[in-house]
Symmetry: C2
Subunit: 342 residues, 2 copies
């Protein structure tokens, strides 16, 4: 143990009086090397505790075997589920995943994406930040022909693989469900409209109203960033109307919960007085009381699919892109089940 650094193929070669090429080939099971030599080499490699230096290999092969994943916030159930699913598939396929969070900040996202490019990720899976309004940092990936997959929040103007949930159908289904439950004045708490996801949810809401011949009332739609606090202030605003709603389709479960708690504290019964539906099926929505009706978004599955798509882009030359729309599932729970009280 004279050397303090890691053994390399050259060390193994010296040990056996052969060339580094042969060692390299042997360790990669190249058929050009005889079985006998291979075994000798592998034995010595083991004995020396040799572990290939992936950095060197990556440089030479111009391939990092790494997939970058960028999400707004790692610490959010939906996103961590996606990451979990993607890591699962990627690891099995021999890829590492490097992960960064944009905190929904455009600047940080640009920073991250450039850093990932410098690290020569083989592909990038991204759900863009709420704040992001320009997309040059992502277009570069397409221009340089580096695999790119959007999930959840995609950029319409960039043509590449996308995997989203059917937000339109989700919004429609929620609204139709509320109508079916006998609610008449249905409000919608919407997210930033420059994100397709929120835009489509609202579109679904509007479409359901139209299909049911319900007059759209602009004062019943509030757009904000869907934080817990904003859920409360939105509901306050809604309840202050001359003609307040009797149901609220919340853009996510967080606002659904905060709205529900606010209303409960005001003595308003849910679902009898007001029906509530959320979106995303956060773990808590099932266990709170009353449990919150919501739309399930298959995060884990989405991550798996995103990884499959990016690996397909990486490993094949074909450049035919698809947009996969995962079906949404309406989960009816207590917060909107008024019929059962009649």
């Amino acid at each position: 143990m004279i050397k303090n650094s890691e053994p390399t193929i050259h060390d193994i070669a010296r040990e056996l009086n052969i060339s580094a090429s042969t060692v390299s080939r042997a360790l990669n099971d190249n058929p050009r090397i005889s079985l006998k030599t291979k075994e000798k080499i592998k034995a010595v490699a083991d004995a020396m505790g040799y572990r290939p230096n992936t950095l060197a290999s990556n440089l030479r092969n111009k391939k990092s075997n790494t997939i970058g994943i960028v999400v707004p916030l790692i610490n959010r159930h939906f996103f961590s589920s996606v990451i979990s699913g993607a890591e699962d598939v990627a690891f099995k396929a021999g890829y590492n995943v490097v992960i960064s969070q944009s905190n929904d900040l455009a600047d940080k996202e640009i920073n991250i994406v450039q850093s990932m490019f410098s690290n020569r990720v083989d592909g990038l899976i991204i759900s863009i930040a709420m704040q992001t309004k320009t997309f040059d940092h992502l277009k570069i990936f397409r221009k340089k022909n580096i695999p790119l997959v959007f999930f959840d929040r995609a950029v319409p103007e960039i043509e590449t693989d996308k995997i989203v949930v059917d937000d339109f159908a989700g919004g429609f289904r929620v609204t139709q469900h509320l109508i079916d439950q006998g609610y008449k004045r249905i409000a919608h708490l919407a997210g930033t409209q420059n994100l397709m996801a929120y835009f489509d949810r609202k579109k679904g809401y509007l479409d359901a109203l139209r299909k049911n011949n319900i007059q759209f009332d602009e004062s019943l739609v509030i757009i904000n960033t869907l934080t817990s606090d904003e859920g409360v202030s939105a509901v306050q605003q809604l309840m202050a109307l001359k003609n307040p709603p009797d149901a609220i389709f919340c853009g996510n479960d967080t606002t659904a919960l905060s709205a529900m708690i606010f209303l409960r504290d005001k003595g308003i019964r849910i679902p009898q007085d007001i029906g509530i539906v959320g979106f995303s099926n956060e773990p808590f929505s099932k266990v709170v009381s009353p449990s919150i009706s919501t739309i399930a978004q298959p995060g884990f599955q989405m991550g798996q699919k995103a990884a499959e798509l990016i690996i397909r882009q990486i490993e094949t030359k074909e450049r035919t892109y698809q947009t996969i729309v995962l079906p949404t599932e309406l989960i009816v729970r207590e917060s909107s089940s008024r019929r059962s009280f009649q």
Copy 2:
């Protein structure tokens, strides 16, 4: 645009009829290069859309600027919080994070750790898998002097930085709290005892009993892997005793919830008939009904701290290790507040 590959410092050098060395130094703001040349070089680099190839740089510098993080499951609130906190600190310090999940499987953990080593991560942050019983794959890191930080689930026999929550105090506090609330027969639903965290929680439980002169009853302690289902079967087992408990200290919130739902469905009132306390402060524990008393584990902060520790190890030569014990906080909620009903 004849080249389809990325511009390198050599391309910039050729363009300006200077050497690559100068370009490299200029881009790194080396004082040996004149300001005028630097500006020229940077201008050309910008114009060519040059982005340094980190792979090459890493190889030469024998430093990957990458921190590996291994957790049992990404998609778990506590762990994703830790990852989030670590990524935050790491990114600001110029490090990337690669993340993998062991799924609590020893084999996969070994596999991951070796792969991270091959990728020459500058340091490894890990919470070991429940299943892991041998630690050679981690000892290697210490032997090779590669920074290693344990969080949450540490290996006692490996000397390095560790950051854990005060599980003993947490277990003690929970138990004392239940005693203070007037519960007499307190059961404990414990996790695998080869993990310090669960071992210490139980030790705190036992210590609190002793301090209060309460006879320890072995039949009141059940050890399993703390899944939702096992929470139910454990409670079934407890309630089948001749002398069932009137309080349960659950090793995590998941089992606390499943136990609670099971008991509620059996018509048992919580906290009046049976008190329940969980551990970890999962998001849902606050919003379920009754809300679950629990121990807060500062995941995000733990991740930040872990990243700080590993970066300190990476960037300084000193090798004095510390074990940081983050304080636990008992959050008293409805599920154990019997006093308010008396």
